[in-house]
Each structure stands twice: as C-alpha cells, then as structure tokens.
Subunit: 380 residues, 2 copies
C-alpha cells in the first residue's frame, strides 16, 4: 500500500525545555519575535520570565494574549497584525494559542488578511515566519499538524491548512501541563486518543502514520488515568504530551472520522469543549464502528493492550469512567433537538470526516447517532 | 529522560513512486536539477526515462555518474561543480549516490569546496540546494540522516555533517531494489539492522528515536530472509526499504556503537563492503554487549520478537546463516594483523562510536575484538 508521511518537525522533549524558547528562537536566526500566549500563563509570571530571556538573547519580543476560548476571526486578525515585521512566532498554550500562532506566522508573510486563505480560497504565502510551538495541554496535537481552526465572521468554523503552518521546532515540557485541571486533562486526553484511533483506522489510514498513531495509543492508555488522578505525576504528564504530539502527526497524515463529524456538528449548535464533544461522539459510535472488524481496528486494539477490536467499546467506556468523564452536554444544548444535530452532521464541512470513516455512514446512522447524542443529559 | 528528535523529511513510499521524481522536483519549485545516479542505473534506461520526464515538466536536468564504490574526494568535487547554478539535487542509487548528492547540494551553495567543510572545519552554507533522495539499496539510511561519508585525499574516511544535508523529500520505491543481488541485500540489510540496534541501545538512546529504531528492527527481522531468498518479493523489499529508512532516522538521532568502530577500522585497512564489515563486527561483539543487560537491550530484543537480550547472539548468528552471509574478509586483509586492526580501532575518528557503546570498551576488549575479527578467513 503506497503512502506519504508529511515532514515531522524537530521535537524537544523534557522537563524545563520551555526555558529554551528564547535561545531556540535566537538559534533559528530570529531578531524579532511575537509570542502568542494564553493570558493566564502570561500573567502567572511566565511572560515576565520570557521577556527577560529574550532580552538576554538580544532578541526583540512582543506578546499577544488577546484571545479567549476557541480562536475567533478578530483574535486571528489582531495576532496577524502583531506578527507583521517579526521573523518568528512562538505559540505557547492550549490548541487555540498554537492555532493563532500558526495562522499569524503564515498570513503575516503576505499582504492579505486571514479570510483570504480560509477554506483554501488562496494558497498561503511562500515564506512564512518561523514557528516554535509549545503546547501546555496534551490534546489537539496542533504542534505537529498542518491544520488550524478558527471561527469566522458568521460563527462558522473555518480552517487554514498548509505545510506552511507547520512548526520549525516543537518543545514538549511536562512541567507546563501539571496545572491542567482534571476535567480538562481527561477531555484533552480523550481528544488525543480519538485522534490517534481515527487516524489509525479510517479509510486514509496507512502504515507510515500507524507508527505514530499506535505509539500514541500506547502512551495515552498508559498515562491518562494517572494524569487525571495524580496531576503532579510528571512521568504520566510527559507520556500524555508525547502521545498527543504523535497523535497530531497521525491526523496530519490521515485525518479523523465520525467522532469528529459529531463533535464539529455539536460545536455548530452551541459552545462545548472540543475534547468532551469528541469523547462523547466517540463513545456513541464505537460499538457501531468496530463491527467493521478490519485489520486496522484489530491493530489499534492491540496498541491499546487489548486482544481484539470487539473489546474496544467496553474498554473506552471504562477508561472514561476512570477519568471521571461525565456524559452530559452543556445546558445550552437544551434548546436543540436530534434533528438539529443531524442537520449539522450533514453540513458540507462535516462530510470529509464522515466519508473517511471506515464504515459507510448512512443517513439512518446519522439520525441514530444524533438521537443517542441528544439523549444525553444537559447539565454541564 | 529529555531527548530531541531531529526533523524527519516527507517520505513517499510505494511501488512506482520513483516515476514522480521530475514532478516532485517541479513541485518543489526547481527549474534546474542535477541527478546524481549510479552509472549502471543511468545506463539501464532509467537515465533516459528521467530525462524525458524532466523535459515534460519543463525542468532542465543534468546527470552525474562519475563515481564508483564509496565516495572519493574527486567525485564529490566533480558533483559539487556540476551542482553549481542548479536549484535541486536528486540522489538516486546506493548510499554513495545519496551521500554525493547531499554533499554537492550543500557545498554548491557556497564558494568553497568540500574539504572546507570536512570534519566540521567550517559550518555549511545557509541555503543548500533542495534535495530529493531515492535509495535503491535498503541499507545506509542516508536518505534520512544528516551524515555523509567520503574518502579524503590521504585515503582517510571523512564526513560532512549538518541538518543542511537532509532531504526535502524521500522516495522509497521497492521496485528499484528487486535487482539487488542476494549478498548485497543481506549485507545492506544487516547494516540497517545494526543501525537500528545500536541507535536503540547505545548511551545516546532515547524514547524519541526508539519509536523508529524498534519499528525498523521489526520490519527488517520480518523481511530480510525473504528479500535475500526471494528477491522479487515486493512486499519484503518494501519492508526492507522502510526499515532501513527508519533505521536512518534512529542513527540520525543517536548514532551507532562498537560494531561501527570495527567496520570503520576495517575500512581503514583495506576495501571491504561496509554492510559486511558491520555485520561481522556486530556478531563478534554482541555476546559481550548483551552482558550489559539494560532495559534498552531488552526492549530491542522484544522488537526483534525475542523474549530477552540473552537470546540475541544466537538469533543474529542464525539470521546471518539464513541470509547466507559468509564469515570472511576480502583477501587483501591477509596483509594485516590483529594489532593493525586494534590500532585503527583506537584511531581518534573511531572513538565517538566506541564511547557511545553502552558497555565501557576497555583496551583489552579492543584487543580481543581485533583478534576475533582477524581470525576470520580471508577468502572473499
């Protein structure tokens, strides 16, 4: 079976590697840097420490924290404006900080704004600013993917894709993730798990990406419960971070599947954490999915330490229990019905994930999944 | 344990991907290309076909086949001269073609010749020509490493190292390897096996590179005997090619160890195939090595499908038997003694591999290994 694995950036892993951000930027030839950083991280002393480190390297630095929650167009535009004239962008934080940094670094290399490139309307400029990505949640894997997501002017989820968005250097520091609360650790960890699982088992799956996807499954299964229940465990936090990073490589090559059709459709109705939405969508479809009984499903099950794919639904439900994941949607979903969700699942932007699912997803399946999702309590 | 894994280039794997060389060069923006290609491949019709494909893409192409055996300075200089003014270099052939292509692409970006950069005397120029590497033997892994080796004016093995030498694109086409004779398949395959094994178990070994090293061991163990005994088996050839490529990533990060001290020392005495020399050096030291009984050795054994590291020496000897590897040195070695080999093993350029070995290599060990190597028949 032919395959292509896209390039994998240099990855530095270890306790304290985030202290090398300024020195790494200098080593990459940067003279002037924009750091896109979560506001609470910047305020917590990290911003000040970084400013001192950039100063010591003789590199000019500016900070951008003008965003909250998932990236919105205004934030992406403001970050792009701040990146103009710089030669390197650091993304430091959750998936939003990383996506905003990636977009700003690419878009600032041209004269147009982010909307010019949304949904691949135009190719990205040729020479993006360099990028150092430093995730502080083990989840999206944005640090190793070529994808970015932001909310457009009409509230729709848009994306800017391209190898230009990929990192020059990824720094994985477990120390940055120990303060992540238990529920976010679980939701982000499940998101990463589903990334690895869907990339390893969908119609685009191939041996090249399976190397990373299977490693991710092993690491995440090994560490997730410990990271949730013993947040200071640096070893477990390190495995989560590396697992999410490898899962990012896997989706960079093979994309996702039905669980992401559901989570994106849910987000089209009302705000919900992407990791939680994905976990709930995954649990609701996994029993149906494993009936496909493919070699890839069996291999993914083995990577999780299971004998066969039929054991996966029980295993995942138990893992979610052990990680304290409450099966419920935010209260705002009380305003919507299964029909609303099914309509979103049929929206054009959610079809690629539906089509890449290893089982054909019939219209009746969409309705059944939507019904089962909207039967969840709305209590969050 | 902190670690860094260097960037991994885009890898395209599959039957027939070598037919995309010209299109890939065009897609990388090349207008003028040098193809460094083994003479027998160029003469066998591939050169003509490539010329037509480059012509169809509107890309100017020149060919360089002025080399035989391991790269010598004159060939490296001639290739560099041929690369000047081009914007992309293709390396198509065994490890020598790839190394010459890598050096030419880097050195042609500056005004100096190859010797200016040998043994890291000066940093490589900043903007190397782009590189597409297409291995036709499953062995050196040069397509994914930052290392090149050539013979200097005094007959010494020199190297030019740097991330600048790495490929922009790797094409792995099993179809190109089916004509490799059985003895070369075995020697090159053992070389790749030892790369993966040493990278996974030496003092520089780390979890990031183990991902690739263990995958390589699994693929090579699975396919080597079949590739040797059933040369047309494309599936086995594909596994060998991918395994050697992953082993290249592993040594790019962690380097080698004692078996390579021996093979480089042997090459310092008289010409011998690098893969054979490495295999013989590996067999001569493996029983001693596994006494270290480390977790990394145990993990490498498991990656080979074995229960523990103590089984490795018997397993490797059997594998070499099954692949028909004759334990003998070329006749030219009749002129040398164990003392000669021990002296070469103590040469400064062979100390890094000695020092990275997981067991301390005492002077008495050097003497014992040299004695055991030079007790081999000289009949090849």
């Amino acid at each position: 079976m032919p395959f292509t694995t896209s390039f994998v950036p240099e990855i530095r892993f270890g306790e304290g590697v985030h202290e090398t951000i300024a020195a790494s930027a200098h080593a990459l030839g940067a003279r002037s840097v924009l750091v896109v950083i979560d506001g609470f991280l910047a305020a917590g002393g990290l911003g000040e420490r970084l400013a001192g480190q950039f100063d010591a390297e003789g590199v000019a630095v500016a900070f951008f924290s003008g965003f909250a929650g998932e990236p919105k167009l205004a934030a992406v535009e403001a970050a792009t404006a701040a990146a103009r004239g710089k030669d390197l962008v650091v993304g430091l934080g959750g998936g939003s900080a990383l996506d905003i940094a990636k977009i700003a670094a690419c878009v600032a290399a041209g004269a147009d704004g982010p909307m010019h490139y949304a949904l691949a309307a135009h190719p990205l400029p040729g020479r993006p600013l360099r990028k150092i990505l430093v995730p502080t949640t083990a989840g999206t894997g944005s640090e190793t993917s070529a994808t970015t997501i932001f909310t457009g002017p009409e509230g729709k989820k848009l994306w800017i894709w391209g190898p230009e968005t990929k990192a020059d250097l990824v720094l994985l520091d477990p120390a940055l993730t120990v303060t992540l609360p238990a529920n976010l650790t679980a939701w982000c960890g499940l998101d990463a798990f589903v990334h690895a699982f869907e990339a390893a088992t969908n119609r685009n799956a191939h041996a090249g990406a399976a190397l990373y996807a299977h490693a991710a499954l092993g690491l995440l299964v090994e560490a997730l419960e410990t990271a949730v229940n013993n947040p200071a465990d640096r070893k477990a936090r390190g495995k989560m971070l590396l697992g999410a990073c490898y899962a990012g490589i896997a989706i960079d090559n093979c994309g996702t599947a039905i669980a992401h059709t559901i989570s994106h459709a849910l987000a089209g109705l009302a705000p919900v954490h992407h990791g939680l939405a994905t976990a709930l969508g995954f649990e609701a479809t996994l029993g149906w999915l494993v009936e496909a009984d493919t070699a890839d499903l069996a291999a993914a099950a083995r990577a999780c330490g299971l004998q066969d794919a039929a054991m996966l639904p029980g295993f995942v439900a138990d893992l979610m229990d052990r990680c304290g994941i409450v099966r419920a949607l935010p209260a705002a979903f009380a305003a919507f019905t299964a029909e609303d969700l099914a309509r979103e699942m049929r929206a054009p932007e959610n079809q690629p994930m539906r089509r890449s699912t290893i089982r054909a997803v019939a219209d009746a399946d969409i309705d059944a999944f939507a019904t089962s999702m909207m039967a969840l309590p709305r209590t969050l």
